[in-house]
């Protein structure tokens, strides 16, 4: 056992760190630091910078544009990117659909879609959840009926993140209503411009515009857009959700948030001293730092174990990463809320845009309460923390 990174790994980390330092557009870095939402153009521009460097899809197989990095290198890359801070490449394409197509798609699909995912020529969104099917995803009802060389899709998806920007949506649809519920599901790629697709925005409690409902009304989808085999979609979805959980600890994000919290705590004064000198406040930051360090080591253990794993199934320990990762992210937003004090209250319109009006209170105050509200989502999406615990109880503890 030697937990230190090798000199080569350290050199690699320095290389990616230097790249992020030089290449993340200032506006992107600033919005990330200030917890403002990024515009579509920001995300597209940044992913293209990454892609040009060959780093938009590092974990894909080399033949499809991956880097061939070791799991440790993958980890270091992600960690540095999160700390830059910079957004990851669009996860719906790069982390979710890409690996599914690589594993289960046909040649034509791979050749057509993968390069477009890497260069974000297509914006993908994830059409899994439905109003009646969240945690119990397999109960989904959106139907796809075969009609000649098309499927005719009817139904509704919801909570669809950034569907308002999307060119395409990958959906779980029911193709067999007779079979057991997991066995009648297929994985279908749908062009958002198809006739009969309607997107309705859902405003979140922080006033944000990131989720939507997507309605399908007799939408005709060519059968060539089926991924893998009909009625095997549930297997592909499980594969995808497992991948989703791996990056979900977001250790680097929390590091960056804590760093910023401390910087702000050095500026924000309570009486004659900065908040960072308040023993109790510092203790509570330290407590989160301890949790985060432990999580980082857990994450590294999962990363290291990946090298030796025979089967491709996700490590159930990734559920631990999801639970702790979300709890830590949320704890940091609570500390920020406390730090900002009474100026957590003002909520002038359009907190997402840089405005010419002078800020109300400290210039970083405007996004603090909205971020606290918004980040409640981290324990709900990607499989709620209750569901993660069910997975651990079953898969790890055998209960």
């Amino acid at each position: 056992m030697d937990l230190r990174f090798t000199p080569e790994e350290i050199a690699f980390r320095d290389e990616v760190r230097a790249f992020f330092k030089a290449s993340v557009p200032e506006v992107v870095r600033r919005k990330m630091r200030e917890s403002r939402s990024l515009a579509k153009e920001d995300l597209v521009a940044w992913q293209r910078i990454l892609h040009k460097r060959g780093w938009a899809t590092p974990h894909w197989p080399v033949e499809w544009g991956g880097t061939g990095w070791s799991p440790t290198q993958q980890y270091l890359f992600m960690d540095e990117m999160q700390q830059a801070p910079a957004p990851p490449p669009l996860q719906f394409g790069v982390n979710m659909l890409g690996p599914v197509l690589i594993a289960f798609g046909n040649e034509k699909q791979k050749r057509h879609f993968l390069p477009r995912i890497a260069n974000i020529d297509d914006w993908w969104c994830q059409g899994f959840s439905e109003p009646g099917s969240g945690s119990d995803l397999a109960s989904l009802r959106t139907s796809a009926r075969r009609d000649g060389d098309h499927y005719v899709v009817n139904g509704q998806k919801t909570w669809t993140t950034l569907a308002q920007y999307a060119d395409w949506i990958f959906c779980l649809v029911r193709t067999n209503t007779q079979a057991k519920k997991q066995e009648g599901i297929s994985f279908l790629l749908i062009d958002m411009k198809s006739k009969g697709v309607t997107v309705r925005p859902i405003v979140t409690i922080d006033g944000g515009r990131e989720i939507n409902e997507v309605f399908f009304d007799d939408v005709r989808v060519p059968v060539e857009n089926l991924v893998g085999e009909e009625n095997k979609g549930w297997d592909y979805a499980k594969f995808l959700l497992g991948n989703e959980r791996v990056g979900i600890a977001r250790v680097g994000v929390s590091k960056e948030r804590i760093r910023r919290l401390k910087q702000l705590a050095a500026l924000e004064r309570d009486g004659d001293r900065p908040m960072i000198e308040d023993e109790r406040f510092r203790e509570r930051i330290a407590q989160v730092e301890v949790e985060l360090k432990a999580l980082e080591m857990t994450q590294l253990r999962v990363v290291a174990a990946e090298r030796n794993r025979k089967d491709k199934r996700p490590d159930p320990a990734s559920s631990i990463l999801k639970i702790k990762g979300s709890e830590i992210q949320q704890a940091v937003t609570e500390l920020a809320l406390e730090l900002v004090g009474p100026y957590a209250m003002p909520a002038p319109e359009e907190p997402d845009e840089f405005s010419n009006e002078p800020p109300i209170g400290p210039d970083w105050a405007g996004t603090v309460a909205p971020t606290y509200f918004n980040w409640r989502k981290t324990s709900i999406y990607g499989g709620s923390n209750e569901i993660q615990k069910n997975i651990i109880a079953k898969a790890i503890l055998g209960l």
Partner: protein, 382 residues
């Protein structure tokens, strides 16, 4: 010992409950938010008719002569309805300052107008550098002929944008954080030299940043003897904390009810999610937190009229700790157990969560009051 409401108090509770059920629904609330003031003048007039706006004032000044229990009943109902109106600002804070610091003449002149709804007051006290320290006042009032000249900046003044008059704390002597040397002044919101920037707060209510630049005040603008206002300010803030504790109970109770109802109706895996024991226990944890908060709100109500300032302040610190912690648990779990729908602006529960979060922030969050309490001899004698 009697925890029951009197017949009159019960009547107040029932009639206010009916009014708010009719006129203060969630849909109405959204309409009221888009009105010019960000709240409903029509509803305010109904509060006046019900006698709510005159509750805490003495009868001889035009009030109803009610006590903290009636305020508790009203605030809990406002919490349940997620009321937008400036009751805390105008009646509890503004009115409280008139009660505790005003002269007889000021009370006789102002109370009838507060009670009939024609005068909206706001308390312009907090300053950017002060955080939650009530003695931290940099705004100055300087002798100017027979009157005063006021200069400074006040921040996050609750309902400061729709107030007719502001009660402004200002330093007449001493250093920024001295306990002595603070005065209270009644200022017309439209007086020359007053600038206001109103905005919505994160819970959908309103507040304002207010600047005072050489605002000329006559001698009788002073509330009480300028220089010794801090005890009255502390007292009124304590009353406000008791009121907020009651409001938070209303807020938490609704979140809890909604969540339990959701657990009984939402189906996943072919059954109601309330059949999962882990969620049952979570709903029980929420109930425990709510009932602890309810008890502390009652304790705070009882202690709101305590004359011994040290005892009263300990009680309020303790109440603020409890409602802050309970509120966080109940609010966060209410969102969590609703899943995605809890995250949406269209659904009520998130608005309660936001109000609860802001109630914790107001006058200092749980952690602030815990430190405060820990610096005293505590609640249990050594």
């Amino acid at each position: 010992m009697d925890f029951d409401l009197s017949e009159e108090q019960q009547l107040l509770k029932d009639s206010l409950g009916r009014l708010l059920a009719d006129r203060g629904s969630f849909e109405q609330r959204q309409k009221h938010q888009s009105e010019a003031d960000g709240w409903s003048r029509a509803l305010w007039a109904r509060y006046a008719e019900l006698g709510l706006l005159g509750l805490p004032f003495e009868e001889r000044h035009g009030g109803l002569g009610a006590g903290p229990v009636e305020t508790m009943v009203a605030m809990e109902a406002f919490g349940r309805a997620l009321a937008l109106e400036p009751y805390l600002a105008a009646v509890v804070l503004g009115g409280g300052l008139i009660r505790h610091a005003g002269s007889e003449a000021q009370k006789s002149a102002l109370v009838p107008r507060i009670a009939d709804g024609s005068l909206i007051l706001a308390f312009a006290h907090g300053e950017r550098q002060a955080r939650y320290e009530l003695a931290d006042v940099a705004t100055t009032a300087k002798k100017d002929g027979t009157g005063w000249a006021l200069d400074g900046e006040k921040g996050v003044v609750l309902h400061g944008d729709s107030a007719d008059k502001l009660i402004v704390s200002a330093r007449v002597s001493g250093k920024r954080r001295d306990r002595e040397g603070i005065g209270l002044f009644l200022v017309d919101s439209n007086a020359s030299g007053v600038t206001r920037r109103g905005y919505p707060t994160a819970d959908g209510l309103r507040a304002a940043e207010i600047g005072f630049s050489s605002v000329k005040l006559s001698a009788d603008a002073a509330l009480g003897g300028p220089g010794h206002a801090l005890p009255a300010i502390e007292r009124v803030v304590d009353e406000a904390i008791a009121a907020l504790a009651a409001e938070s109970v209303g807020v938490m109770a609704v979140m809890h009810e909604m969540t339990v109802e959701y657990l009984k109706t939402r189906k996943q895996f072919g059954t109601t999610i309330g059949s999962f024991q882990v969620l049952q226990h979570r709903a029980v944890d929420m109930l425990v937190a709510l009932e602890q908060a309810r008890s502390m709100a009652m304790f705070a109500t009882m202690m709101a009229s305590e004359e011994d300032a040290a005892e009263r302040q300990k009680a309020m610190a303790a109440a603020k700790v409890q409602i802050g912690r309970s509120g966080k648990l109940v609010g966060q779990q209410a969102i969590q157990l609703h899943g995605g729908i809890g995250m949406t602006n269209e659904y009520k529960v998130g608005h309660y969560f936001k109000r609860m979060t802001m109630i914790d922030t107001l006058f200092g969050p749980a952690e602030h009051h815990l430190s405060r309490l820990a610096r005293t001899d505590g609640l249990v004698e050594a």
